[in-house]
Symmetry: C2
Subunit: 339 residues, 2 copies
DNA sequence: GTTACCAATGCAAACATTTGCGGCAAGGTT
DNA sequence: AACCTTGCCGCAAATGTTTGCATTGGTAAC
């Protein structure tokens, strides 16, 4: 029946002051052992639990981290989120997850909500077009650390001078690794699928891949296609394989695109790797759904999340720490889709 | 420089009392129009935003909903979570997401955390073995609505009398639909893959499927296997197809199992539906990765989430509402994997 | 016998807001 | 003139903690 035990009730029962009770429960050295014992006994007896809302108000800390993504149901994001939740919790933080759904307005609203709720830090994967730094500045003023992950704002001439905290896969390195892998197998006719052209991740990967391929002396035909979803990838590959193009290797920069590509390949009854080689950048789930396993360059949401959370802890302790872009190196996971 | 605008500061500037300012911002009828105007002007000028922590403490409402799942990165859960977040937000609520990772202890800790944070309601998908009702009772006492979804506690003899709020797919109906579909195609040698035997969802689906199949007069060989993950499903199907069994249809009760089964099928170079028919219960992503598309019975996390959130809103308004189990009917989505 | 110090505890402000109740004028009614 | 509205506003309590600064009583040092 002790519906809401408070410090006050304990204090009254024991003829102590609220402050003494508070300190006793926290093992404050000022309080005598006997008092501590009595307080703790009564506390457990009446099932006392501190009211976190009051604690938060007093300390101005919520022990909650905000996490904003365009969409939760996305191969990469959900592995990141799952890992981030686990990491955060092990450090006493909870995760408040919000979706922006590719809408920049909604993204700002989400940021505002995080600020209103006094979250202790924010992880943000920006929606495609975002480029507005106004609100980021407000957060900085409010002392709320903001870490970009995976998708970061495009750094063009206008904002190149505003440094940010970020944690990303080493996209350039991944794409170069992909290109050198292609060269190693001496492929001549490559179809490369990239995502939304407006995303920095797309631009970086594309440039690096192109550069890597063109470095080769021999002649390689490289066809590049931009597909924003699985369906488009399916169509592009279907057309390419039925036409005179006949690529000998298909490269997909993401799981979504790989899914579309594979469906076309199955439909056309092309054999991997006999008829066609496949290479992808992936977080490692989708490639294992097929036989042979698709060779891929791993971008681990799990590892990235660990990095992000530990960086966040640093920033919470030292809010003035200098902006830093952290890159997580990629590695090649060999399947059987290359020959 | 208005680092933290408060009601107090506005009040001081305007020589008003805090309460008047508070009411003015809320359009309270007691306040004159001129005062309201002045207050609102200054409020926007100095960028006032109410401190939600204080509001929460005062009103004892956090406007946050807790959502606890065994794991976020799971085909079904992430679609549910994504939809729930969207629905909740449209009603002014945010989602605090926690993972229990198949650990009953962790599940209780998560529930406790939700209680401490004074969430306004909790969605819970239980981990396998959970059967303890002690804490649920505490939540009821604290007036925090608890809605089970997808995975609900097993209702055995001991707790059959404790009603709960729940929102689930119509599992029995889905399985019966699966069975009648199998019968329609006159299959004789069926391999059926089910998940963790301890889950209610598994038990219900298995019983209904078995019953549906055995209703048939003609002789059907039904082999049932329990697999707790993709890997196990892969192995079971591999063994079965290479042995003398040679099933003519494989039924998978979940996406995870389907993924494993399909990998074996590809590896063995079996043609669907010529060599083998496939039927699954799925939320609709995985079946579309293959060609032909796998025929499946749809369990929509999105629809379920909508139901769950609207039910939660009812419970928040009427906490004493009677316990009710809501079932969402399933439908057959025809692909090309049956013949 | 004053001073000093220590351990143990209490006071009260602060966090920012909401809200019941009461005050106080101005104007209208008996 | 006494009374009652009514419109506008402020007081103060309440939400549950945390924490800097007293306050006590006791004991040891000088």
């Amino acid at each position: 029946m002790s519906r809401n035990a408070t410090l006050k009730k304990i204090a009254e029962q024991l003829n102590l002051s609220i402050s003494t009770v508070s300190r006793a429960l926290k093992n404050h050295p000022d309080i005598s052992e006997t008092t501590k014992r009595k307080v703790k006994e009564l506390a457990t007896l009446i099932d006392y639990e501190p009211n976190l809302l009051a604690v938060q108000l007093r300390t101005q800390k919520s022990h909650i981290l905000g996490l904003i993504v365009p969409s939760i149901s996305n191969m990469f994001n959900d592995s990141f989120i799952a890992a981030a939740e686990k990491e955060a919790r092990s450090r006493g933080y909870s995760l408040l997850i919000l979706q922006s759904g590719e809408d920049p307005v909604c993204e700002v609203e989400n940021l505002k909500l995080c600020k209103l709720l006094r979250v202790d830090g924010i992880f943000l994967s920006v929606v495609s077009e975002t480029r507005c730094f106004d609100f980021y500045e407000k957060l900085r003023e409010a002392g709320i650390p903001l870490i970009f992950f995976d998708r970061i704002p495009i750094q063009d001439n206008y904002n190149a001078f505003r440094p940010i905290h970020s944690v990303c896969m080493a996209d350039e390195e991944s794409a170069i690794l992909a290109a050198t892998t292609v060269l190693k197998y001496k492929k001549k006719n490559v179809l490369a699928l990239f995502g939304n052209e407006k995303l920095s991740i797309t631009q970086i990967r594309k440039h690096a891949f192109e550069k890597g391929i063109k470095k080769n002396k021999e002649k390689i035909t490289l066809t590049i296609a931009h597909c924003t979803n699985t369906e488009e990838a399916y169509n592009v590959v279907f057309q390419a394989c039925r036409s005179f193009q006949n690529p000998d290797l298909i490269f997909c920069m993401s799981d979504e695109l790989l899914m579309g590509a594979m469906k076309s390949i199955q439909q056309l009854q092309l054999k991997i790797p006999e008829d066609l080689s496949v290479l992808a950048i992936s977080n490692g789930i989708i490639p294992h759904l097929f036989h042979p396993v698709i060779t891929y360059i791993e971008t681990s949401g799990v590892e990235l999340a660990k990095l992000a959370v530990s960086r966040m802890m640093e920033l919470i302790e030292h809010p003035q720490a200098e902006e830093k872009s952290i890159l997580l190196p990629a590695r090649l996971v060999a399947g059987g889709s290359l020959r």
